[in-house]
């Protein structure tokens, strides 16, 4: 059962690592704007199809 010492310490170390990562991400401004990325991620596809359309039109 003494393994529990190690288990708890390990789990705490992992938890602290995640905590540090969280603080870092807040500091770097990742949560400053949570709306725009949700819209932005939908755009890339459209830009490509637009280009392809142009290309296919010029091929004709």
């Amino acid at each position: 059962m003494d393994i529990i010492f190690m288990l708890i310490v390990t789990s705490l170390i992992i938890a602290v690592i995640f905590f540090i990562l969280f603080v870092k991400s807040v500091k770097s401004g990742q949560y400053d704007d949570v709306y725009t990325p949700s819209v932005r991620m939908l755009f890339d596809d459209e830009l490509i199809t637009e280009k392809q359309k142009k290309e296919s039109n010029s091929n004709k």
Binding site: I4, F19, D33, E46
Partner: protein, 791 residues
């Protein structure tokens, strides 16, 4: 007339759309934007949203000042000689198409490297190579596609505003510690004297102690500071019993584990701080796209063109304008100083200053006041004052703008906590004395238990959650408050003071009335087709107002005399319309704006332009029956009779009020013991808004500009005002009710404490239970009440 929306901006094209590429456009500007986007393979802008654009404005020469390195350095955030980064505030960002086109700017110009939109803040960050494109060209490029940035003195003065994220870290620490301590303390709650548990106990306890240290010194820091500051001023604010509770919790728990007499209350400690911080965070709702601190600086331009003696043009910062300087104001530019018009026809729009929707015509030699916007061609003027000394801007030298905003308002929580703290200390003392004589060892336990359990956690949370939630509800109804404290002040208001123009009148629509001999059908259509060729704002308004079609008959001759009127000939009809001076008519009184019409040398009559009052104004005023209502107007007495009919008899209505008069008037009635809410819109109300207990700016377009205030109300929701006021009162009632509930919890807890039965498990249950039930109660009840009142 069928609705014919512009393909670009969605405005009704009326009867004369510009056809291009099989699409209808309302104006050349919109067509140009479409062309630019289409040529650069960006036309899928129009696939994302229908008619997403906004009409681009005339910008010729407006941004020349950005070539001045002194000015551009103030605006850019980063510049290493080859790459420049700039953040621009663009009020017209409003939909996903906007994000898309602005983030594909590099397609329009190779010099632009990357662009990134922050939608909630309506901000665009542009990185560009300054060898290939200058800042001025970047700004002109985005303006040309309808996204004109808002560059003002304010940006240049405090470019770096770093948001305070401390509370997020504090919550993170408290939450992290709370979860972990809870996990470590649970075994001891349910198992006593079990073999393995006894073996791990010291280890567990040590970990709990280490977790609670950062909670005490970092997360709970602000409560100790606030309590200390309160005590120094002789105030027993809510933070005094809170920090006392937190401190006693920590000391007693540490004593227990180090003396090996118990497991301590560390989980309650971390939980308490965590919940308190959550409440604080919830209350701090901010509307990042609005600013409540603006003064004239954020509205005035940064730079202006000065004309030197040798007729050369120089761009100078507006603060450098000296008395006697000759300055050039271009179309759509704002006049930064008081001055005399020297050259050109001025048509000044003072809507941001006074709320007056109709532009004013000025001739050379007339005095121009700072804050107006030139709307027709370029003018030259001579400055009579410096920027800070102008009629409007000297308002800001008043003391009221120097004071920091933290007026010491005693909140309801602080009022209760004063009595609460005294009672708690008394109970602790009495029960301590009782146990001192019965059982000395329990006396210490009882006193600390009383201080722990009486820690007014639920009490401290009910107000932040109730106010924070109401703040959000108001926000959903387009009433944006600066902070939650405004709601409490609002509930105590007994006097409402309204500005007239732009506040209770709408500056979007003018009401037009014709006085004189009625025009027949042909005359009307001819007049309409004559007006079509004019771009004067009054002509546009009259054009929209006149019934019938145009186009059947075009004028044989047409002549527009800028600033005066129009002339035109039709078959058998000769029109002259415009100002009375132009038509040679003598006018006695000059209280309103009008256009005279003369046909074949005979005066037919005049079109009178009136500000239209907001819809249901009378009904809105009537439902505010238990408030004293007053009106302060900067205008003349032209509409006194109508205004008096809106208000109950003997209500105060004052006309010809200058900006300082308004401020002093508010001060005067405050000294008479009134709690005043001021509703205004323009810069001329700024003083009164700052002086009043609650200053609300009424705005037709919340993104554009509003003076410093406590709240911004979207003009379309003006009729909801009685509802908002009622809601603020109900919120305070809910808070009082939740105080009673939390006091019941405290009484139950005190019973355990005084009888020396407060075990850690009871504290661990009672504390979160009371907090969560209070939070649920206040949020549910505010939502319920708001549905009833505001729906």
């Amino acid at each position: 007339m069928s609705k014919n929306p512009c393909y670009h901006c969605g405005t009704d094209c009326k009867s004369n759309p510009i056809e291009f590429d099989d699409k209808a456009f309302c104006c050349n500007g919109c067509k140009t934007v479409y062309e630019i986007l289409n040529q650069n393979e960006l036309s899928c802008y129009y696939d994302l949203e229908s008619s997403p654009g906004s009409i681009p404005k005339e910008i010729q020469g407006k941004y020349d000042y950005l070539d001045n390195p002194d000015i551009s350095n103030k605006i850019t955030t980063f510049d290493d000689g080859s790459t420049t980064v700039v953040n621009l505030f663009i009020p017209s960002i409003h939909c996903s198409s906007c994000i898309w086109v602005l983030e594909n700017l590099e397609k329009l110009n190779q010099g632009i490297k990357t662009t990134q939109v922050n939608f909630p803040k309506k901000e665009l960050r542009i990185t560009f190579k300054n060898e290939e494109i200058s800042l001025r060209q970047v700004v002109e490029l985005i303006s040309s596609i309808g996204y004109e940035p808002y560059i003002s003195l304010e940006n240049s003065e405090n470019a770096s505003k770093v948001a305070d994220k401390t509370i997020i870290y504090q919550i993170a620490i408290a939450g992290f510690a709370f979860g972990n301590i809870m996990m470590l303390s649970f075994p001891e709650y349910f198992e006593v004297d079990e073999f393995w548990l006894n073996r791990f106990k010291p280890f567990f306890r040590f970990l709990m102690f280490s977790f609670s240290v950062p909670v005490l010194v970092y997360a709970a820091r602000d409560y100790f500071i606030s309590a200390y500051l309160g005590l120094k001023k002789g105030l027993l604010n809510i933070d005094v019993p809170l920090s006392l509770g937190i401190l006693v919790l920590f000391l007693r728990s540490s004593y227990e584990i180090f003396s090996n007499t118990g497991q301590g209350y560390f989980d309650s400690l971390a939980g308490l701080v965590f919940f308190l911080l959550l409440g604080k965070f919830f209350q701090k709702k901010t509307y990042s796209f609005l600013s409540f601190e603006r003064d004239y600086k954020s509205y005035f331009p940064i730079a202006i063109t000065r004309i030197n003696k040798d007729q050369s043009h120089v761009t100078i910062v507006v603060n450098d304008i000296q008395k006697g300087d000759r300055i050039l104001i271009r179309n759509e530019e704002i006049i930064p100083v008081d001055g005399i018009l020297i050259k050109g026809n001025a048509l000044i729009d003072y809507s941001f200053v006074t709320g007056e929707s109709l532009p004013v015509i000025k001739r050379s030699g007339d005095k121009l006041y700072a804050g107006g916007k030139q709307t027709q061609g370029a003018i030259e003027m001579e400055a009579l004052e410096t920027v800070t000394q102008s009629y409007l801007t000297q308002l800001w030298s008043n003391d009221i703008f120097q004071k920091s905003n933290t007026r010491n308002i005693k909140t309801i929580t602080d009022k209760i906590s004063k009595h609460f703290t005294i009672i708690i200390l008394l109970i602790a003392f009495l029960s301590g004395t009782y146990w001192y004589f019965h059982d000395l060892s329990t006396a210490f336990q009882v006193v600390s238990a009383v201080l722990i359990i009486a820690c007014p956690c639920a009490l401290a949370m009910s107000a932040p959650f109730a106010l924070g939630n109401t703040l959000r509800i108001f926000g959903r109804h387009k009433f944006y408050l600066k902070n939650a404290g405004v709601i409490e002040t609002m509930s105590k208001i007994d006097t409402l003071v309204f500005d007239k123009t732009g506040t209770i009148t709408s500056n979007q629509h003018a009401e037009i009335v014709f006085e004189g001999e009625a025009l027949d059908e042909r005359e009307t259509t001819c007049l309409k087709s004559l007006l079509r060729s004019s771009n004067h704002p009054l002509s546009r308004m009259l054009f929209d107002f006149l019934p019938g079609q145009t186009g059947e008959e075009l004028p044989a001759s047409f002549n527009e005399i800028t600033g005066k009127g129009l002339e035109g000939k039709f078959n058998g009809l000769e029109f002259r319309i415009g100002s009375p001076g132009f038509l040679g008519i003598e006018v006695s009184e000059n209280l309103s704006t009008y256009i005279f019409v003369k046909i074949n040398g005979k005066v037919k009559g005049k079109f009178i332009f009136k500000n239209s009052y907001r819809e249901n104004l009378k009904a809105t005023f009537d439902s505010l029956y238990d408030y004293e209502k007053q009106i302060l107007s900067g205008d003349n007495e032209g509409e006194k009779v109508y205004l008096s009919s809106l208000l109950p008899a003997n209500s105060a209505i004052h006309f010809n009020q200058k900006p300082e008069n308004k401020l002093f008037y508010i001060k005067k009635i405050q000294e008479a013991g009134k709690k005043v809410m001021m509703l205004g819109d323009g810069l001329n109300d700024a003083g009164a808004l700052a002086q009043s207990d609650v200053g609300i700016a009424v705005s037709e377009n919340i993104n554009v500009f509003s003076p410093a205030c406590d709240g911004i109300l979207d003009a379309s929701k003006f009729a909801q005002l009685p509802g908002f006021l009622k809601m603020s009162k109900k919120t305070m009632n809910i808070i009082v009710l939740s105080f009673i509930i939390s006091l019941l919890y405290n009484t139950v807890g005190l019973y355990f404490a005084v009888t020396a039965q407060l075990s850690p498990v009871i504290a661990a249950i009672l504390m979160p239970l009371s907090s969560i039930s209070i939070v649920t109660f206040v949020t549910l009840s505010t939502n319920l009440v708001s549905k009833k009142i505001l729906s």
